[in-house]
Amino acid sequence: MAGPLYPDDPTIADNAALWRRIHPNWMVRDDNERGWRISSAAFTDSRDGSPLSVLLAAIIAQTGRTAEGVLASFPGYALAAISAGLARAQRQTVARTPLPEEPAHTSISGDKTPAVRRALAQGANWVHFPT
């Protein structure tokens, strides 16, 4: 990806939580931290050039849903959160891109260099970790 596809939406605050589903293969054992880390691979744009898809947590809450509900159809997955401010600090834009089936759908656009992907992964927090 050479640059942002969507202009940044300033109505999304820097502290807004953006949720990303984490496939089990993106949860990597980290013996240095004695825990599990999110691989930088979890923050890659799609091969077709589509920007990184996330969910705006505020809209999930507004629509009466929860993290567990978001993952109901995705057994084994985790849910991670990054802030919009973290994405912007990595020269990304954050824009609402609602879908008919998912009004919370949001896109993070911009060049995802390996360093950017690592920064997003390292700045992510677990919202839900599978048991």
């Binding site: 589903r21 496939h23 293969n25 993106w26 990597v28 054992r29 980290d30 013996d31 240095n32 931290e33 880390r37 691989s39 930088s40 691979a41 890659t44 744009d45 799609s46 091969r47 077709d48 589509s50 898809s53 995705f74 997955y77 390996p114 360093a115 690592r118």
Partner: protein
């Protein structure tokens, strides 16, 4: 000198788990990541295995084999105070990231043609207990 991974009587310590992980990644169906990812291309797995046979000593720890949304894969080690990641951007284009928590040494490099930094990183990883 690395033990050939095909020597099933005495494989390198990292080989069984890694080959199993590569096999599991190759079985992922299109759309496996819930975001429309393509299936992982076998050429990536073959290249990753070739690289590991070439550069990993027998007693190296096994990497995590991590698929990417673009149909490729990464090898990752986060152990012994080292973070080492090798991303296959194409089967023959590699980028590496290394961070040593003990010495605070870091680098990110194109490893496609020159494996010297990778060999040095793996030597540190393998020798450290």
């Amino acid at each position: 000198m690395s033990q050939p991974v095909t020597d099933s009587a005495n494989p390198a310590a990292w080989a069984p788990a890694t080959v199993q992980s590569l096999g599991r990644v190759l079985e992922l169906p299109p759309g496996w990541d819930s975001y429309g990812a393509p299936a992982i291309q076998p050429a990536f797995a073959a290249r990753a295995l070739d690289l590991m046979v070439a550069v990993l000593p027998d007693d190296a720890p096994a990497p995590a084999v991590v698929p990417t949304s673009r149909g490729g894969l990464q090898l990752e080690w986060h152990t012994r105070g080292i973070d080492l990641e090798i991303e296959f951007e194409t089967p023959h284009r590699l980028r590496g990231y290394f961070h040593d928590h003990q010495t605070h040494t870091s680098w990110e490099k194109d490893l496609s043609a020159d494996h010297s930094a990778l060999l040095e990183a793996i030597a540190i990883l393998s020798q450290r207990s």
